[in-house]
Symmetry: C2
Subunit: 149 residues, 2 copies
């Protein structure tokens, strides 16, 4: 499934919060397995991101239909998507807000990230069918207190 609402929550261990609509085919599979892989696509996968978000795994095999490669994960049973820039293997850390808000809190148990480019071109959903493509980076490190880095 395509997922647009998510946030970092903590560094050590890394925790990530994700919203998953309970109408999604993936919702019950993820809730019951208590595992998932979060795959980060780049703009070369824009077409796939949109098509995956507008079809259902109850009707088609999305890996096959969209030409994606499933790779075995190291620490969870869900597969990685090989074509993605980064993949985060996750186990459920907190389920208290799932039924009320669709909010899953995940602990990242294994991360895979491409070594280049350093700043890939990523997609960020604005809503209403519009995406923002990541722009330039601005390094202001020198203006930070060391404890804030």
């Amino acid at each position: 499934m395509t997922m647009g609402w998510h946030m970092m929550l903590q560094f050590t261990p890394a925790l990530v919060g994700c919203y998953i609509w309970d109408g999604n085919h993936s919702f019950e599979m993820i809730r019951r397995s208590k595992e998932c892989v979060i795959n980060v696509p780049t703009t070369d996968l824009t077409e796939e991101v949109v098509r995956i978000g507008n079809s259902s795994g109850a009707e088609i095999d999305k890996f096959k239909t969209f030409g994606l490669t499933a790779v075995r994960a190291r620490r969870v049973r869900a597969p990685l998507i090989k074509e993605c820039y980064a993949n985060f293997e996750c186990r459920l850390a907190d389920e208290r807000l799932i039924l009320k808000y669709g909010l899953f809190i995940w602990k990242v148990v294994k991360a895979h990230v491409a070594t280049s480019p350093k700043y890939p071109e990523t997609l960020h959903y604005r809503g209403e069918g519009v995406f923002m493509i990541s722009g330039r980076s601005l390094n202001l490190r020198k203006q930070f207190k060391p404890g804030n880095l």
Copy 2:
């Protein structure tokens, strides 16, 4: 305070999740008042964003020091920052994950948004003192199912 980790959680009513570190001067004020205003800055405020994030309200008056204008909110006691592109007046919707994860769940009770530009240049924190500046927009609305818009 400057805040970098946040997400949408729901549209009606609009719910937003935010991470606030419990070492922040703002943490207890926000937790006790159960109210806040989330102000969205654009890149013309980059310098202020960094300086506000690297100083403490326990030591300085940030509105005065950084030349920002406090405007009275309509439905909460915290002020808006006039210079920001958008301001969301919020009341606490769920406090269950505050102590464990620093995660506040807010209900937006009043929104103020500039009418132009449609897509302002915003800042997105990458960590390590580096920001990503929002890039171009890509409208793929025609490829969406109506129910997903």
